[in-house]
Symmetry: D2
Subunit: 343 residues, 4 copies
């Protein structure tokens, strides 16, 4: 149950509302959240009686009391039916046109990231990606250029006019990364790193939240709820494959989550076919399939001369494939917009 209160409710009114919730048996587990719909008090899982509820609804400062059938009220379409559009520079993620995010797995050096940025822009991508703080399975693998990498990425993006997205891995670095990055990425391994989620929720930047290797849709939306509950409304969900049993592909791309999430949440959803498959030759087809399934965009690993990538070379496409991807994604979206009118 959620109690929505006026944004300008007085401290006294808020205190009274909190007291009434406790009196109704909600154990004081109240979560004041500053959200677009006004301030909220989320009373965790509590079901209260009709009388207590009526009394709550009548209190000064209360807009309304809402039952939300899912545990993630802020992410759900119950409180906010309209789709969220995340503005990033001139790009609008969730605004209708499929957004293409492209760039190398890791920022290698100035020359290469600038070349990748130029290739991305020329092929029609909207946002530049590149890893600087790299979560690597082995402590002995290249761990990324760190702060220097973030700056190089930002300069490369600025040089070609593309906003940039990069991963941040620990709460203590969120501020520094947010200074340079337009979007903060939270990686799959950190989907349930709750201190990190809270930190990016307070950083004033859109957050690209990748699904964990073995996360259910509900766990994923609750991870988004951590960010939203800190007052940051701009979360982009990114499906990147879940763990599977077949060694043919790196992960199993779960495209069914795209139309499913469109029903469960107002947040935009993009798809990363590079990590999902781990195979360059499958990336374009699945990016196009993602758009056909309704995704708001795709994120792919791309660089000139992909075979020279310092990590994830096997799943990195080249500029020519990116051009094909952009052209096919647009054609499919246009075809579906037309077909929807006919059907």
């Amino acid at each position: 149950m959620v109690v929505i209160i006026h944004a300008d409710a007085s401290p006294e009114e808020r205190t009274e509302i909190a007291r009434a919730l406790v009196a109704a048996g909600t154990q004081g587990a109240l979560h004041p959240v500053h959200a677009a719909a006004g301030d909220l008090y989320v009373a965790d899982g509590a079901a209260i009686g009709a009388r207590a509820r009526a009394r709550l609804a009548a209190l000064p400062g209360v807009v309304r009391v809402v039952d939300v059938p899912v545990p993630y009220p802020l992410a759900s379409r119950t409180l906010q039916p309209a789709r969220t559009v995340v503005p990033v520079g001139n790009v609008r993620i969730g605004g209708g046109e499929p957004v293409i995010i492209a760039g190398p797995c890791a920022v290698a050096d100035e020359t290469r990231i600038f070349a990748a940025a130029e290739a991305a822009r020329a092929a029609g991508a909207h946002i530049l990606r590149g890893g600087a703080y790299k979560p690597r399975t082995s402590p002995y693998s290249f761990q990324g250029l760190g702060a220097e990498g973030v700056e190089l990425l930002a300069r490369a993006g600025a040089a070609v006019g593309l906003p940039v997205v990069t991963e941040v891995m620990e709460p203590g670095l969120v501020g520094a990364v947010a200074t340079h990055a337009d979007i903060l990425q939270v990686g799959s391994r950190n989907m349930q790193n709750f201190p990190l989620l809270r930190a990016v929720g307070r950083a004033g930047r859109p957050v690209l939240l990748k699904r964990g290797f073995a996360a259910t849709i509900e766990e994923w939306l609750l991870a988004a709820e951590y960010v939203l509950a800190e007052g940051n409304p701009h979360v982009i969900l990114c499906e990147r494959g879940i763990r599977g049993f077949d060694p043919q592909t790196r992960n199993v791309l779960d495209l069914a989550c795209v139309p499913l999430l469109a029903r469960l949440t107002h947040l935009p959803v993009i798809v990363d076919p590079s990590h999902a498959t781990g195979r360059r030759e499958l990336v374009v087809s699945l990016a196009v399939a993602a758009v056909a399934a309704g995704a708001d965009g795709v994120m792919v690993e791309m660089q000139p001369e992909p075979e020279t990538a310092i990590s994830d070379a096997a799943q990195t496409i080249g500029p020519e494939e990116l051009r094909a991807l952009v052209s096919q994604a647009r054609a499919v979206r246009a075809a579906l917009d037309g077909a929807a009118v006919l059907a």
Copy 2:
């Protein structure tokens, strides 16, 4: 390694070839297969020396000796690079246009199967599906109408001019079902029912082979190989979701297998989003995504008044959704054909 011999090689020549294979150390595990490329001897996993190999290649009756890097030579594109097109009546599965297979989960009675057939045809489907021998998890659930159901299905298909596909579950019934059905379906639970695979391999009908709940791509292609090795070249692979951990959907649709299979095999691939998701509201989006990923067709559960389906009601779409599906699938395929030219 595969030895391809002339289709009209004499018995003596064949004996000599077999003897040479044994002499080369292949243990006599030879599998004579009547295939389009001429007869084959598959020497299981054997690597033989260059001299033995040259001697084999020089024998009368031998066309050539081929190394196949996968354990399913007949299904692979090594021996047969050209895509297989499966003709079923006037329909050509794998022929370019996405083939739509639709109909109820189970044949319920004459009235309903005729109505479903008419609705399928009117919406633009190419083939009628309907279960008569139903594999049910519980022995106490409705097990299908059996032989009567097969006949009703065939009559309904004939009435509207659509070929029909239905499942067969045991070797002893293959002949009877093949008398009425245009395509024999082998279900997920029976993907590795090897006696059944051999029986449908000898039945003279195309076989629609569903992927097992937890089958790898290689296991699936080896199941197809059982059918092909009996001399039946017409196998249609059907992805229908693999087992996952999230209760939101019945299974996990693995669309990455579509472009992957296009590289590994010449057999046509279709997708069943109904069983993959178990949710009616996701079926159309994922059917369209499947076509965008390159699938040769889709199979969906559809009937008028879906909520009255005697099984799988939650995942059955109605005629209106089928019309949207057909329209969108065609639009996407046309858009991609156009985009491919541009790219």
Copy 3:
């Protein structure tokens, strides 16, 4: 809901009971089952009103009407609280002592199966296993000796005084295999081969039912229910690992199913650590762990000179490891019997 009727209820009484069930709204989906507790009518999923229920209970021939909270009444402990003991020769599976089943993956020839039988007996095994009809992933792999293999196995067992178990893969061969085998094994790939389950349910032999690669506990118990519903009370469940994501082991051994099944069903449960792990060096430890978890026995692949096994060599143990297994399994069972008294 289940209606239990007297074993000697008259045809007229049965007809009347069936009619009352239909009148109560159970749609005629009645399943008369000859079970130990008297004959049963299982009314699939039906909940009927209190009055209809009272009328049913009062009918001549009715013993009682029982609500069963699971969909597998015959396998559940609701109708039969006492544990089932399956007698096989002098062996009692589920009778307290851990039963050890050992032997080669496949019967290779007379010499080797007799040597394996002698080694199994000498090490303290109770039952001899050996495959004759082999379900092989590839059509080009050795498919077993078939009927000849079954006879060799039976002769080897007889020579050393051990009952034998072997797999049967198709309904048409159940009778022939049952002539020689003391226990009929249904393999993982056939756990939901329903015609086969019905056939072994009528064969008059105990059935060892392996869990499917990706079967839930409920699906597995419903597969057992198919056998029980044919009147065969002697089903032994065999856990053999479920599909997982880590290539280190062939499958994931799910030992939690052992104490869980002890709560859900009266049927005995054994564990196969050979197929579960695919690694010889893990077999003994996990066999002992299975007994510690409460398993009624274990089944392992064993033969003299394991490295010469014609299939599954990597997971086959030798006679010395089998002796250690038997000794440790007995010690653990004895320790737990003692500790239970103390605790």
Copy 4:
């Protein structure tokens, strides 16, 4: 490849060794590690020629050059064949006797944690567990008492003479938690939180590293390698179930990892059957099975009046079950020690 150098090698010698490694083509990805065996340089994945290798081995300061067939040299038994024993107060984890860790999921208040501590001690447990910083799926769930909870836990442990273990979730809190806790727990969601792993690697406390929901054994050992590479030799691995498809249990307990890890690593391994199953009635059987499989200990959720637990009540056992667990675990270990002598 690993180069082991004398602990007292001079800076000049170290520089020379590093230079030789780069010259040999290892790209400078050298990782100097202070380990028990002397200092190491780990040259990631590099294979170098025989001559370069001989030259390296001959350099002043070099003890030897070792090929390690796995990517986790410090965790592997190649460099350190002897099992690691982790001392915690008077307890020796990995020292032969199964170590029992017990306590509530979350520290609720002073009264309850002291009662739980007393119950744990009385039942024979060796270490007290309790969560203070709780990783909760929902931002609206109770998040633990935080710093106050850590202190309460430490006081409760001190009062009954048991060391304590508690979870730490972010690098910035490692120091504070390490002040009070004897063992730092890294939870499943943070198994690949690399900044956290590095921080606990420098904290001077043993680390209990839980396996991730969907982590392979190799990924888990590489996570341990992050801790070891910071110079902390005291890592305890804790299996707690991996994600599965069957809702009957919360996770799938992978007991095969116990004997497998005994071959791959020298680190002690314990098992958490509470989180693995989520069901109180399965905990004791599986704890005993874990010990039978060779585990060095178990960790269980236990408190007086388990049904009042503020989280994880369904999987929390009571003091009586803990007594049975301790008694059975000891009996099984003793029986196996005896049987091993006999076998």
